[in-house]
């Protein structure tokens, strides 16, 4: 699983990062963000690309598990 740390970044950087990462068409990604907008935006992008997203929240951070 490819891990991406997008903490400290705001819109649209995390989406740009997941978009670039998805060019390699891996089966699963794990992305960490630290704000609601990034959590929501990355979820939208992954779902738009046909992936499923699971979110775990902990201490103001969100870990998104993105799988086909």
């Amino acid at each position: 699983m490819k891990k991406i740390d997008a903490r400290g970044l705001s819109c649209p950087e995390p989406v740009i990062m997941i978009r670039q990462a998805m060019a390699s068409k891996e089966a699963a990604y794990e992305m960490t963000v630290d704000n609601v907008a990034s959590r929501e935006n990355v979820t939208r992008y992954a779902e738009h690309q046909g992936y499923k997203v699971e979110v775990r929240a902990s201490g103001g951070e969100y870990t998104l598990t993105i799988t086909r």
């Binding site: 705001s10 819109c11 649209p12 929501e40 939208r44 738009h48």
Partner: protein, 346 residues
């Protein structure tokens, strides 16, 4: 090779997306002690677009200020858009802008040519609105900022607040939505030049033509759709008026490309702040996620949201079309009972 510093790269949030959320603002102002003056007919407590102070039976002063970090890289265009956005609050009160002052923050890497172009854009846009910029104040800071403090006039009996909507009114919106979403997608390089120029033209277009037609009709309420988005501003109008605003989703105008960009997650953080602020008052059960995102999307220099009796609104729409002013009927107003939502998107 590009050597010029890109203005938008110096800003952490773009345009009206930088606005502090309505919920946060309300918290900051909670319990703030204010003083009353009978001549101040629209003030601090009203969450309106501008303040209104009555001079005599024929004249009231309308005052407002608005400023934000660069939303475009072209400094002249940034000046024009920031000025059009600031002047809009005067139009939203039914007034005419007459004088304005620059508010500017210069970041160290900006050269004098860039600063001059921003100021020229603002000056020319203000002049187009019939206002003269007579001075201002400039400071150094971490991010560029530009905007205006504007003074206008209105007849005291013709003030249009955002709290006068009445059951039976029709709602008209005078610019299409999608500005925040598209400018966010533009940061990822996904927006073509044609769409970008369309957006630039829209953001730098004054709400003057729409206002000049609007004031010839009986209008109950008006606001401009900017940082708090269509749903945030509709929520404020509904709360202020004690009514329910019904938005007909199929008739809400937006730039088509914004739908796909929203579905891809190119949504400014301000849209989520707007949703947090307004969603408890909004009912939108059948609305798709991207469309709802567009309705929460902060608009830089957005259009007027006009609430007028149906017959007046129909005639006004006809005049907007004839004059080539963009306008769409987007909904209607009904009575609100205690447990009804303030805004229904259907």
């Amino acid at each position: 090779m590009e050597t010029e510093v890109k203005l938008t790269k110096l800003a952490s949030c773009a345009g009206c997306g930088a606005k502090v959320g309505a919920g946060t603002l309300a918290q900051l102002l909670d319990g703030f002690k204010t003083h009353k003056d009978p001549r101040l007919i629209v003030g601090f407590d009203k969450s309106d677009d501008a303040s209104v102070y009555v001079i005599d039976e024929n004249t009231a002063i309308v005052q407002t200020t608005d400023f934000f970090p660069p939303i475009v890289d072209d400094p002249y265009l940034f000046g024009q858009i920031a000025a059009a956005n600031a002047l809009s609050d005067i139009y939203a009160m039914g007034g005419e802008p007459k004088l304005a002052l620059n508010i500017m923050c210069v970041q160290d890497s900006m050269d004098s040519g860039t600063v001059r172009e921003i100021l020229r854009g603002g000056y020319e846009k203000a002049y187009e609105a019939g206002a003269i910029i007579s001075g201002g104040h400039t400071i150094h800071g971490a991010e560029p900022i530009y905007g205006l403090a504007v003074t206008g006039f209105v007849h005291p009996d013709k003030v249009l607040t955002n709290s006068g909507a009445k059951p039976g009114d029709m709602l008209i919106l005078t610019k299409p939505l999608g500005v925040g979403v598209i400018t966010t997608a533009a940061k990822a390089g996904l927006v073509d030049d044609e769409l970008m120029s369309r957006l630039h033209l829209q953001m730098s277009t004054l709400n003057k033509a729409a206002r000049d037609i609007m004031v010839r009709y009986k209008v109950n309420s008006c606001t401009d759709v900017t940082g708090f988005a269509l749903l945030g501003h509709s929520f404020e109008m509904a709360q202020g008026s004690g009514c329910t605003l019904h938005l007909t989703v199929d008739r809400i105008p937006y730039h088509q490309e914004a739908f796909e960009f929203a579905d891809m997650g190119f949504i400014p953080a301000g849209a989520y702040r707007n949703r947090e602020y307004a969603e408890h008052g909004v009912s939108a059960p059948g609305v798709s996620r991207p469309m709802l995102d567009i309705m929460y999307d902060p608009q830089t220099s957005g259009g007027l949201l006009i609430s007028a009796p149906e017959e007046e609104a129909e005639r006004m729409l006809g005049e907007f079309y004839a004059a080539g002013v963009f306008a769409a009927a987007v909904g209607y107003v009904t009575d609100r009972s205690e447990n009804d939502p303030y805004v229904v998107a259907e």
